[in-house]
Amino acid sequence: MNIENSKQNGDFKSPFAVEIKNINKSFGPVQANKEISLNVSGGTIHGIIGENGAGKSTLMSILYGFYQPDSGEIKVHGKLAYFKQPSDALRLGIGMVHQHFMLVPNFTALENIVLGAEGKTGLYKGLQNARKKLEKLKQAYGLEVELDSLTENLPVGIQQRIEILKALYRGARVLILDEPTGVLTPLETEQLFEILLALKSEGVTILLITHKLHEIMAITDEVSVMRQGKMVANTLTKHTSPEMLAEQMVGRSVLVNNKYELQSIGKVALSVEQLGVVDKRGFDSLKNATFDLHAGEILGIAGIAGNGQSELLSVLSGITQPSRGFFKIEEHLFDAKKNPNPRLMRQLGVSHVPEDRHSEGLVLQFQAFESVILGYENNKKLGNGFFTNPDTIQAYCSQLQEAFDVRPQNPRLYSSQFSGGNQQKLVLSREISSTPKILLVGQPTRGVDIGAIEFIHKTLIGMRNNGCAILLVSVELEEILSLSDRILVMNSGEIMGIVPKITATKAMLGKMMAGIPIEEAKEDKK
């Protein structure tokens, strides 16, 4: 009876704040979580690391009641729990701090914190009571927030504190933070970590979702690694290393066994000098990139997603302007003074297969024959420059579909109706058919089935053998290793080094991806 009572009061001490057992969750044909189990000890900071799409966010959404699992169970403080909605999870003390804040911009901090938990005393009284309670919370955890400021006028770091206060105010004892540092400056990140440590010392359990290795190493007690919807590792942070984690994160099963023959390298097709990009938040997302890309080679860019690869592609394809430095294609120089111009880049023979085919590669509501001429619609073969000729374009599309084995071979099908692999082949066919001198490829096989991967790889190798200079950005180390002639590794916007394929090993690249410079990474090998 006693035990029963204390259980209800939440005093019952299970060693684990949260236990997750055999959770499965599918969205249509995509299984986002496969048989996931996870134990989180109370009063610790538990990191969950994995690449984009590894299933971290889905798992956390299940834990805070946003999604319901297809199967499996969750225990909170040793008690079985069923969450139909986030408020159920909150009642058991599980609070979520979202990556995109759930704050009303033109409300004060206080109003945002209280929203939905105003109490039964009327708004005025409710706000006053909340203010008292919040002053205590603020002091206890160093969560300094001006309660009467308008939220939209506050920096993101403070807005995040409002989110944390919101969860604590509602009695959260387990706090899930989804990519909390993605929007923060380094100083704000430091302050956040101090707050997290203060919370931990007061017995709050923290689940930290991130794909940044150094954060995991800096602050967590335990870490779990997710990859492709599965939980692949669970260790104490002190028993692991950034290199190990990097390998566990990206180390996919070998999909491609083909080792392609090396080939002699041609002239420099693209030279990049001290290139830098400062993003909207004032971050250096690309720093001092310097390298040459030669005709007839594939230069692979390895790195964990979000380490400056996207910015590099975006600058080289003429979408964004560099903030510093320049790059040269033949005698054409592009620097911070020159307006970016993707069309000009195309005319210079630069093709770009964007990382995200849905948002940048295709218009999903377009039919295949429309998608397949995007950016090349002025081509004289396809019309007279003003009118396009649908028959010609459809025939052209059929031709490409046959050449690139796009299935189903129907130019009139909507782009959205093709599978991921076939969509990617559509984009590739479009970009390659212009016979580029330089091909920029981002994540060519993300979400693509094995058959298509092999086709895409063979196509890229074929292009290289015909003298095209290829810059290949991929988060899949296997892919980089199997296709590239040289491998450039990026970390936090910086180039850690360029390794010829022959001397590259997975372990060494993993270290470089974790931020260890090439010299040290080499030494460790010996």
Partner: protein
Amino acid sequence: MTDFWFQFVLTLDSTLRVATPLIFCAMAGIFSERSGIIDISLEGKMLMAAFVAAAVAYGTGSPWIGAVAAVLVSIIASLIHGFACIIHRGNQVISGLAINILASGLTVIIGIALFRQGGLTPTLTKTSRFNSIELPFIEFFELHTPIFGVIYKHLISGHNILVWAAIVSVAITYYILFKTTFGLRLRAVGEKPEAIDSAGISVTKMRFQAIIIAGILCGLAGVYLSTATGAGFVKEMTAGKGYIALAAMIFGKWRPVPALFACLLFGFLEAVATRIQGIEFILIGEISSDLLIALPYLLTVILLAGFIGGVTPPRAIGQPYIKER
């Protein structure tokens, strides 16, 4: 001078009467749009309510029963709007437009079927309408305070209950919106529905509550038109007042008190327009009454074209709420 003063007070008096349905509708609009639902169906709801109020008041002889029936019908129209654009995430403007078209057609057709008077309802007798309320002490004030006496007699006294209700509705709207928990949530749901959802409150429920209140207020506007200021329903009797109220609401930046003043401004223009008809001005001569009648509409267009400056509508307005994947 005394004549001008007298005329001015009378103009203000009719300002108030012209503005009453605008005020109701503007408050309705504030509730609906603050919750994130665009409501161009103010017009249609008001028209339906006007017809039902007149028809029921004629049938039962009681303006009160007419008013209740009218408000109910207006709420039903709101619910249809909600069904289309909250539950089924339809386009809010199209749904509102549909209600307006439905209203202008249905009122006439049902009117012809019931009364066979070409879409009119029979003229209501005095007992089946909301009549003016003469306040006491008129003689007293006239005798002792001549200036205030005029104001008291012609501006303050002599209004029907709905005029007062409209003004009270502004105070109530303000109070609900800014001083209650419900108001806090209402404003949040129109700005950032995700915040409301993650706080464990149903976005759908909040929005339905908001549009039901909008339905009640539009209903009262309709009641006012056909059974208080008018004595029966006339085809298309709302004549765009719903849209003008919408403009006044935007002009008032979705806030109750500024919206009230915007309504009064529109009302004043219309009152002036009717009052100076037929009067010869020096140099200008008689001002075309068509132009004067068009004035409020012209002003609406100018205001809506963005001459107000710094207007930020509720951020989530017009967007159906879809839980992200």
